[in-house]
């Protein structure tokens, strides 16, 4: 398998975030991603994966889902999170109001807000009983 395309299978357990961090570093470091690109990827995938782990599955028992990373010849990074939980569009949340004062600020929706800010493309599809969240970002490598 090419280093520019990797797939990780995760269980729906929050301790799996450790494996996610290692997976992202192992993908980015040999390709010399810049720190802002790495931050965007780590943060977006933590949010997406946490959503699936904590809110995705309605039935007990371990469930597996996948995270894939690929980098094309045009320096476009694509991350795809695919799960077979009930249909749920994480991008459909209302926008966060960033102008509210401290007392009224809510934390809900902030994760997805960050994903939308850090990625050039964030799109959700329901296909063949699967939730597919696709995130794209044009990256710059460190010289």
């Amino acid at each position: 398998m090419s280093a520019k395309h990797q797939v990780l299978t995760l269980r729906n357990d929050v301790t799996e975030l450790t494996r996610l961090v290692e997976f992202v570093d192992a993908f980015c470091d040999p390709l010399q991603f810049s720190e802002p690109d790495k931050l965007a990827l780590h943060l977006s995938l933590e949010e997406a994966v946490t959503n699936v782990i904590l809110h995705g599955y309605q039935t007990p028992g371990p469930h597996n889902f996948t995270v894939s990373l690929s980098l094309d010849g045009d320096e476009r990074l694509t991350a795809v999170v695919t799960d077979d939980a009930p249909a749920y569009d994480p991008l459909a949340r209302p926008a966060v109001d960033l102008t509210l004062p401290l007392e009224q600020r809510e934390i809900g929706g902030l994760g997805i807000h960050l994903v939308k800010k850090m990625m050039d493309v964030a799109k959700y599809e329901r296909r063949e009983d699967r939730n597919i969240l696709t995130l794209e970002r044009k990256i710059r490598r460190t010289p």
Partner: protein, 111 residues
């Protein structure tokens, strides 16, 4: 993530090191709850060595700031790394939280 606690008069300084994410945010939340239970109402989060924060960590920062303010004090954030600063900016946190360049300035800001 590691948390190192020191005290400067009535201000508790929590120096954070490493990653504040979905796995570690609970540890910080318990620490702040313990501080509040012990009567602390002023906390400075020293972020000099904090390399990463996600929305799980932001949630703890926000609830801590609200809790300290409600207790008649406040929270301040010192020495953000570039990564943490970017997340604060994108979240609109720099507008609602007290952010200073150094720990000393953050302590002063709490009065």
């Amino acid at each position: 993530m590691e948390i190192t606690e020191t005290k400067q008069n009535s201000v508790v300084v929590l120096a954070l090191s490493g990653r504040l994410d979905g796995l570690t945010s609970g540890t910080l939340e318990r620490k702040v709850t313990d501080c509040a239970a012990a009567g602390t109402n002023k906390i400075v989060f020293d972020c000099t060595k904090l390399v990463y924060v996600s929305s799980a960590g932001l949630r703890v920062f926000l609830t801590s700031a609200k809790k300290m303010k409600a207790a008649g004090g406040g929270a301040a954030f010192a020495a953000l790394t570039p990564a943490v600063n970017e997340v604060f900016e994108l979240s609109g946190f720099t507008g609602v939280l007290t952010v200073r360049a150094t720990e000393a300035e953050a302590i002063t800001a709490l009065g």
